[in-house]
Symmetry: C2
Subunit: 609 residues, 2 copies
Amino acid sequence: MTRADDLRKIATRLRIHSLRMTTRAGSGHPTTCLSMADLMACLFFGEMRYKVSDPEDWGNDEFVLSKGHAAPILWAAYAEAGIIPEEELTDLRKISSRLEGHPTPRMSWVKAATGSLGQGLSVGVGIALAQKLGHSPGRTFVMMGDGECAEGAVWEAAAAAVNFGLENLVAVVDVNRLGQSEPTMHGHHLGPYARKFKAFGWAVHRVNGHDVPAILEVLKNIRKSGGPAVVLAKTIKGKGVSFIEDKNGWHGKPLKEEELERALQEVGPLPAIDSRRLVRSPQKALRPAWKSSFAFERTAYADKTATRLAYGIGLEKLGRVNEWVVALDGDVKNSTYAEKFFASFPERSFQSYIAEQNMVGMGLGMAAKGFIPFIATFAAFLTRAHDQIRMAAYSFANIKLCGSHVGVSIGEDGPSQMGLEDMAIFRPIPGCVVLYPSDAFSTEACVEAAARHKGISYIRTTRPATALLYSRKEKFPVGGSKVLRRHDGDAATVIAAGITVLEALKAHDELQKENIGLRIIDAYSVQPLDIETIVRETAQTGGRVIVVEDHFPGGGLGEAVAAGLAGRARIIHLCVRDLPRSGKPQELLEAYGISASHIVRAVQDLIRP
Amino acid sequence: MTRADDLRKIATRLRIHSLRMTTRAGSGHPTTCLSMADLMACLFFGEMRYKVSDPEDWGNDEFVLSKGHAAPILWAAYAEAGIIPEEELTDLRKISSRLEGHPTPRMSWVKAATGSLGQGLSVGVGIALAQKLGHSPGRTFVMMGDGECAEGAVWEAAAAAVNFGLENLVAVVDVNRLGQSEPTMHGHHLGPYARKFKAFGWAVHRVNGHDVPAILEVLKNIRKSGGPAVVLAKTIKGKGVSFIEDKNGWHGKPLKEEELERALQEVGPLPAIDSRRLVRSPQKALRPAWKSSFAFERTAYADKTATRLAYGIGLEKLGRVNEWVVALDGDVKNSTYAEKFFASFPERSFQSYIAEQNMVGMGLGMAAKGFIPFIATFAAFLTRAHDQIRMAAYSFANIKLCGSHVGVSIGEDGPSQMGLEDMAIFRPIPGCVVLYPSDAFSTEACVEAAARHKGISYIRTTRPATALLYSRKEKFPVGGSKVLRRHDGDAATVIAAGITVLEALKAHDELQKENIGLRIIDAYSVQPLDIETIVRETAQTGGRVIVVEDHFPGGGLGEAVAAGLAGRARIIHLCVRDLPRSGKPQELLEAYGISASHIVRAVQDLIRP
């Protein structure tokens, strides 16, 4: 028995598992599993090195299934490797099972959720970077589909892999010719894929994806010559089952029971082989014992400071006490002030250039290896990575995002640069923390709080320099708020965050002249919202509430408060209700109805008998 | 005087305007204008053909400034062409001016807002497609920056341009070496750009971007050889002003008054030339006189039907009465049922493959020429195009989007495929219509309503087949709602949409047995929300309200209702509050708290004394 014979047997077992699992589940994508079965056998049992007993072993090679709809064959591979019991495969897609329809880290060997195509290569870039940074001997393998190569994010990642010199990164493209609804753009032609990857600087290898010795040879060559390398594997969708081979209309469709029987007759009986003995162990390696504190000494700000600048200063200080913190930029680090971290810790700073999707995807990969990525760009441009942020949630990823230049208060650059929907991206994500500090002191505190929170944290920062409201000592826990003004008999409560806190304070002073008291709450923790304080304080002001925010109406602070109070107060919601334009910051606050004068008018409306 | 001399003079005028405008505004990006001044002069006064008096002339060449931060030189070019008065240039970035910091269609020659980088080429692809489809002799020119070529969306668009054979598309890349915060990945090397565009199938031309005769020669060659063609122009950022030429740290920074004076001394006095006489007129062409109705005959559904299927059927029928309707797909047309339109109108159907950013960007371009694009994919994957959707709003674009497979009700495919944040994308957009039909009849009506609405409309469809609730004749205006159950003395009102309407009806029947009456509102128009009806009906049920939706808590129907009622009712909000997993649809509705049984329990909670 040659090694190739063994691997062919394993490939057959993977095919049989995939067919059975999907028929039993009544849904799933068997044909796309069949096209890559030989590749999977070669990777998991001929090339990759990993410790079956420990998904976190620092020497492990890592695997990312970018074509997440092929999950069944991934679960089958883990069963063959002895990582999960073979019987568990029957649980595919059950509500109680970790073997979901598309991979998520509910199964501990999965480092990032996939299933939104074209994201896996970025995750792989991040993991490979983390391996290099952490001196792991491990390599990263990303299994991609041909259809997903149409996604721009793939090419962002391809450029980054070369830019970072990731010789430990290998991509395999399963070129099975058929997409979901029709053939792919390039069909079975490997040439266009080869030209593209080559143009982006990759080493390109072509292979018949069903020729086991050839696949092994290619992988061996890459082991010697290094990466980033891509294996373009020509394959047949549905390979091994004649009546579904290379046929359109069989994407995401399990076989019926009787079809399964016919298929299994063709594929043959389950070959007898203990796949586990073919698994290659990793080299010994230990996770680095780096500093990992969160508490850093706060800056003694003395004058007006932009919260974006305080973000940069805080991040740099965090970097000093925590060596797992890394920073990622999309060529705006002189605006977000991530440049302070870049200057102090160049080896932990990663330039993604103007490619926000890959920036977030890389962060996801680095977080999967234990790093704490701080990812910053203009808040408006985080919309570009919304899908990656969404998938970060399903990856239970510990990533930190910062969006600068929020709202109309940025001024003359105009609407394309204004983050007016960013809270609506992050607030819907279960468990996501959204912090929106209003001064430099609270910003630094938010940087620490974001880092401490295990999960996704988002910090929203403001462009112009703004007044100091707090002190170095003040605490800003996640879920808290600050009552900034309180008098007996206050007429109403203003709930604000960020720049509108300052407008609220102006309105307070204005109304003082008329002997109207105003309660002011700085709701810096937009999510979770300090609803207990809000309920208590607003009840004391007769249930008269004004929420004012530099954000569009939907999904922001106003709706968070409305949902939280849910009937317990009368609310006027001041926010940006029109498509804004260029202008001076204060002009725009005024024009779009979120300045002090509008707050004053809203209070007058609320107290009018 | 040669033509080249004239164009050099115009380039100098463009430089002087750009410098003056930005200094006067106190912000903006003069150096990036200077690098492209010679290119702009050659394009606007040596190559492009357009009718100065009519931005909508059907024979016009179109221009997209993908590097939107170079807006000043675009405004300057329009002034030189006689499209706007030169004096107006002094209004740059004023709140009252159409000459914004980044281009928007507030200036009528701008076809799509730019300023979020890497989007212009997709828009250009859409415009060029529209020109071909509408038999316009015009061509489309896209001016790009080198930095933005890092965006994956550029490569999605590059692939699409070749796939659609757009010989009328020309891209110019201003390779000025410097990004915002540091040099670009490839600096002044044209090789990597050339290799990439070539690999994607483009004709590549290189030129010194300050050599006017050479630029003219390249453009002339392209005129003969056709596109898609890209001109890689090596340029100097800040060209013409020695102390800012090719220097890092001068992005987005206007000259101070004294610097401006020095600069103007170097650039020389404003050359005397009437640029207007160099503008080339377009060929004569008329906008097609195609059918453009909206009313189509409704289908007589008789049995359970998925709303996504009804979307496909309705869209196909709309296509019969309106020849401006086009459909765009991201290789999921057999799931969204856009395939029905594709089958009937292949010449108006555009496959974007798995490249959602480019799909939306193309749609934006087609809409700019008067087409009505219906763009459909899984709702989850619209997150991928969130930035393009955002920019569509600033483009005042008339585009229609449909997101299928919303919520946990899709079942076993798991969270990566579930649209749970899509309403939070569309609701924040001022003026955006969000429709969420609950049965096949209302879905067809929503297709018509979406088409009629001038602006962005979003339709949310459900995967499983669901019961029929309405009839062919029923009307579903934007901003409406349907009261489906009403009794005297109802205990509470349930506000639902889509699949949860059916759960609410089940809860209604369940509670009937206990003699508890339930009012049911189908809030199919999530935005604008029919708040008048909601206020009236909920007041009649003692202000007891349950909102139930298959969506995350933030930014969806629940928060819309909470914001709308703002204190006038007690609300229980049932929605998906955890990260969901694979499972059967009904199991998931149950597990994540949005099924009939949860509604029943919520009612009981509300009426408990």
